[in-house]
Symmetry: C2
Subunit: 172 residues, 2 copies
């Protein structure tokens, strides 16, 4: 049994909120078409994007999903999307996964960790300009597809400042 095969799918119009802070996250979404974002809202009301998920990517709040806690994050569709989803109940079938499937799961988790760690390194050690250039290299398709203000949020800067960064880069 493969975790994401033969799942139900549903269409999600742009702007739909799939998970709100305080909710318990009962699904793991796999994006078939479109794009989702996860984000937090800080004390002063500002939104900070944690992850994007476009085609074939997975999106969930792991902490909430695995540990049955209220979530601290939001998940929205930023394009008209279609998602396959795993619910808590069919996730419990994980114990029925065979050895090869578990190894595959393991590998995906490791890759996810590697990616998240790179993001961390980037936030800690790179300037706004470097982070933007790195994003362009790493996600060339997303940059064409998403509004810059969402990318700015993902990169940890304001849209206005990203605009400055882009202008300075263009002048070079």
């Amino acid at each position: 049994m493969k975790l994401f095969d033969n799942l139900q799918t549903k269409k999600i119009p742009k702007g739909t909120i799939l998970l709100s802070k305080g909710d318990s996250c009962r699904s793991v979404y796999k994006v078939i078409k479109g794009c989702l974002k996860s984000y937090v809202i800080d004390k002063s009301g500002k939104e900070h994007i944690l992850h994007f998920a476009s085609e074939d990517w997975i999106m969930t709040d792991m902490d909430s999903f695995m540990n049955n806690k209220p979530s601290n994050i939001f998940i929205d569709a930023i394009e008209d999307s279609e998602v396959a989803f795993l619910t808590s109940s069919n996730y419990n079938d994980i114990s029925q996964l065979d050895h090869g499937d578990l190894l595959e799961q393991n590998k995906k988790l490791v890759n996810n960790l590697i990616t998240t760690n790179k993001r961390l390194i980037n936030l800690l050690s790179a300037t706004a300009e470097e982070r933007y250039m790195d994003f362009i290299e790493t996600y060339p398709t997303l940059i064409q597809r998403l509004p810059l203000k969402l990318i700015a949020s993902y990169l940890g800067m304001t849209p206005e400042y990203l605009s400055d960064v882009r202008r300075k880069l263009a002048q070079k």
Copy 2:
């Protein structure tokens, strides 16, 4: 077979460099005693701490270890330490892990991801003061044990600024 049982251990004096940028990381360390740090050095020569690992924590460069790439990070002992270590060759025995072991591995990876994601949220959305207070809550033992300048680096600020933050907190 449990991954970290019955492994060799070795003593590592404070200051020892276990992994340097450019090296291929051939070990996963489990700290028996003492403390390690992993860090990057940015373009201007500044050090940014990625992780600490004290007793029972695991330390490695996953990207380098799993994908046999040259590493971008350093790993040093910041106290006289003792570590158990898994090498690439005995890691390949992972295919001999039984179902329960793999599930356990999976769970550890998930927990690691959850922790790293919290760190990310923190860096994106919290002020220096909030990050410091969060660190005290999350790692009360480390704060007593490690020099503040290392904690400042981990929190993404300079030691001088952390000192300011602490003074302002003390005045309240």
